[in-house]
Amino acid sequence: MTSSRAAVLVAVMAAVTALLRFLPFLIFRGERKTPAYISYLGQVLPQAIIGMLVIYCLKDVSLTAAPFGLPELIAAAAVVLLQIWRRSSLVSILSGTALYMLLIRLF
């Protein structure tokens, strides 16, 4: 592929990504107050989306082949417990990741 052709593809990817991010803001720009339904979605979606992203990250974990998702399960449980105990995302994330890196070397 020529450089200019590649540059066009990069520009297209950038433009479409930006369009998706800006579109909702462009659609509701004119209104002084956001429609109640959209405000409602803004309230409930964050929690639902984070739940979706958790599953999205774990989508390729195999439960039928060794180690049966155990490193992910144990590390995820550690993150949850640490977060409940310490309430510090930094502590939970760093400890959970370190534990995971250790576990995949052990299993």
Binding site: A6, V10, M13, V16, T17, L20, A48, I49, S92
Partner: protein, 253 residues
Amino acid sequence: MLYWTAKEVYAMDPDKTPAAPAALRAAIKPAFLRSVPVMAGYIVLGIGFGILLRGAGYGVLWSLAMSALIYAGSMQYVGVSLLAGGASVLTAILTTVMVNARHLFYSISMIDRYRDAGRYKPYLIFALTDETYSLLCDGETPAGADPDLYRFLVSAFDQCYWVTGSVLGNVLGAALPFGTEGIEFSMTALFIASFTQQWITSRDHVPALVGLLGTLVCLALFGSENFLIPAMLAITLILTALRPRLAGKGATP
């Protein structure tokens, strides 16, 4: 670049209080601390992207341009194969829409929060990645700091990590001493920690459960390649159906 003089800031947007160095000082430390959990993951995933892109025959300027302009992790990984495979423009458009459709969701849920962000608004919207979203979607900002400046700085720190990683990966290539297998779990851990934190602080757990279980069901039904868009539709439909029950019940504290 962040150190505009008060006069320059005033000239840019007279409606906004000038971001004096004091305001920047009040926001920059909490913003940095908030962004630290993303640092390791973005640098490592960025390095992975840089190595891939280099392998496809594109040098460091391409890494820089893609991470600066597209700034969407999984899309950039897919983008490498589009470039390598000589995809058509139409394919590139459709693929980007499929891979990044979830960003519509992030934006919809941030409409009220970013509405009056002034001169920071365009960049805040542009830089709304999965990870930045998860850092900012709970709406909490440190006391004493300008919330918009704080969000701007968190977003900018995150992109710095991503750009740094993708440039490093491209320059150093496969020569990196790679003992970092598994560090990508920091992204998963980030989302799990956000999920737990939101669970602790919210009174109604139905939205969180809808997201978690709805996605799980869609993953089982549609498989790991195709479940994301059905999951987004299902989540929206279920939450819409539950609106009479959930609205005004204080789903968020």
